[in-house]
């Protein structure tokens, strides 16, 4: 994606796997934090707010703010709490489901 991401891997990991984000294929470092890896790959924003549609991206990186939500297998999950694994299929959360979290209605 965008090569001009302000997030940079200091010592790039050589063991990489392919994941899909929306319609793009990304090569990400295996086992690393998913939110961090997506930021380095230039993914931004991660989601849009259900209310105003404002763009959002990771804020706390410790599982507290939920601004890093992405949709994996139909479930909204915190990217900062996941690790990069081969073949992940990631989508931006569909707007009306984003805030409801993972079934926590």
């Amino acid at each position: 994606m965008k090569p001009d991401s302000p997030f940079r891997e200091i010592d790039p990991e050589t063991d990489r796997v392919t994941v899909r984000f929306g319609s793009s294929e990304l090569s990400l470092p295996r086992g690393e934090n998913l939110a961090g890896a997506l930021l380095v790959a230039g993914v931004m924003p991660f989601r849009h707010t259900p209310l105003s549609g404002a763009p959002r991206g990771p804020f706390c990186m410790m599982g507290a703010c939920y601004d890093c939500l992405v949709e994996i297998d139909g479930i909204n999950r915190q990217a900062c709490m996941l690790q990069v694994t081969e073949g992940l299929q990631i989508e931006r959360p569909s707007i009306n489901r984003a805030i409801k979290g993972a079934g926590n209605a």
């Binding site: 934090n33 931004m44 804020f59």
Partner: protein
């Protein structure tokens, strides 16, 4: 179902040292943490850190390996990636691991869930590219990722620490925009006596400032009127110092003005909290062993009140001693004898705290945000919306929540609760204690029906002996 004498929630310094001490006294311990590796916030992923990363992060970071090594004890079962979402009847803990809900039963529970960074609502803080300074540090610790063209904004020792770590990583911040003033420093001097007792912290602080100066990092001290600019992404920070306006163009903005106890788990089981004026936050009520009003539940570490990593580790051990006594593993005399040196260590650790707290107070502009600044990130509720609820007669956060949905999103008020309490308290002229805080109800973290369904097929697993 898992069962153990003691369930520890949180594998930071407090939880790890408590687990080890309890295990050493013969208790079986189940240690749960949502992270894939032990360490907590300060020692995040310390076991995986390479030599270079260790050098960037410093020995205060790599020291954490002593604690993670301590977890290799036959009485300790550490479940990684275990997200705790409910505590029932003060002895049962529900958590999710690998997409499945599991249940654990413990005779005692220790909450060691640590701290959160204090919410810092300034205009533009919800834009992509704005993160907490702690978030930038987590990326550095866990994944070797640096934020380029970053400005650090706020106050406190962690701001300096993250700045020096970025310098050492070869990706220095563009500048520090610091909100503490000369008047704050003057006020803090009356705590200098205590600070001198905690001299290693002062020395560390001076070293960090010297390192930043040598690296040529500009520090704007006494900043106010802070705002983040940007349309789709942060593109600059504006602020005023001594009446003069400044603008720094940047790609990332890292906010931080202190840490506050993460009280979600304690509140979910109705443990009483009190307002701590010096630290500007709520802390759970605990006795000198960390025991709460719920007699089987203890709290240790930053979750009980901010004291830092070493204090957290000592407090964890102190709680473990009382739990061991409580469960008949030692006498009162043995407990007191073992606790004595730990308590004196704790006193020394806490000595510098009043100085640090008053020299680096929270940014006033974020405690009383402008009306159009978003306070609740999840539901996009502004400070003005909250103030209007006060006009409608709302005295506390739960009433305000009913009117404007603040705190109803998935973060459950983690990043707006303190702001909402403070705004209502100011508006109504009622102290924070009387204003209160959101009522927190389980699940603490979203859990799916599929995950809960898996609970039905549980089997009994005995932890330790």
């Amino acid at each position: 179902m898992h069962s153990a004498d003691l369930i520890v929630i949180g594998a930071g310094p407090a939880g790890m040292s408590a687990a080890r001490r309890a295990a050493g006294s013969g208790l079986s311990v189940l240690l749960l943490d949502e992270q894939p590796t032990p360490g907590g916030q300060i020692y995040r992923d310390v076991d995986r850190a390479s030599k270079t990363r260790g050098a960037i992060l410093g020995s205060d970071f790599t020291d954490g390996r002593a604690l993670t090594r301590g977890l290799a004890h036959e009485n300790i079962t550490h479940l990684r990636g275990a997200v705790v979402w409910q505590i029932e009847e003060a002895t049962r803990v529900n958590f999710t691991r690998n997409g499945k809900a599991e249940l654990a039963e413990g005779r005692r529970i220790l909450l060691a869930t640590g701290a959160l960074e204090r919410p810092m609502p300034v205009p533009g803080w919800t834009l992509p590219g704005v993160m907490t300074a702690g978030a930038a540090q987590i990326m550095l610790k866990q994944s070797d990722i640096a934020c380029e063209r970053a400005v650090l904004v706020g106050s406190g020792p962690l701001l300096y620490l993250v700045a020096t770590q970025m310098v050492r990583a070869g990706v220095p911040p563009l500048a520090l925009v610091e909100t503490q003033t000369k008047a704050d420093l003057a006020r803090s001097l009356r705590h200098l006596g205590g600070a001198l007792r905690g001299w290693p912290y002062l020395l560390k602080g001076l070293r960090m400032l010297w390192e930043l100066r040598r690296a040529g990092i500009t520090r704007h001290v006494g900043a106010s009127d802070i705002a983040v600019e940007g349309d789709r992404n942060a593109s600059g920070v504006t602020f005023r110092v001594g009446g003069i306006g400044h603008r720094i163009a940047c790609d990332t903005v890292l906010l931080h003005h202190g840490v506050v106890p993460n009280t979600q788990a304690a509140r979910s089981i109705d443990i009483p909290h009190r307002w701590d004026d010096a630290q500007g936050c709520f802390a759970p009520e605990c006795d000198e062993w960390g025991r709460t009003a719920v007699s089987t539940v203890f709290i240790a570490g930053d979750g009980a009140g901010i004291g830092g990593a070493r204090a957290a580790a000592l407090a964890g051990e102190i709680s473990a001693l009382e739990i061991a006594r409580d469960l008949g593993r030692m006498t009162e005399e043995e407990r007191d004898a073992e606790a004595r040196p730990l308590r004196s260590g704790l006193g020394a650790e806490r000595a510098a705290r009043p100085f640090i707290d008053s020299a680096y107070p929270p940014y006033p502009g974020a405690l009383a945000p402008a009306d159009d600044t978003i306070v609740c990130r999840c539901e996009e509720v502004t400070a003005g919306d909250i103030r209007r609820t006060a006009g409608l007669g709302c005295l506390g956060p739960n009433q305000a929540k009913a009117f404007v949905r603040a705190g109803m999103g998935p973060c459950q008020g983690r990043y707006c609760g303190l702001s909402v309490t403070r705004i209502l308290s100011d508006m109504n002229g009622i102290p924070p204690d009387a204003t209160g805080y959101y009522r927190i109800r389980p699940p603490l973290k979203p859990v799916t029906l599929g995950e809960i369904a898996a609970l039905a097929e549980h089997e009994t697993v005995e932890v330790g002996k």
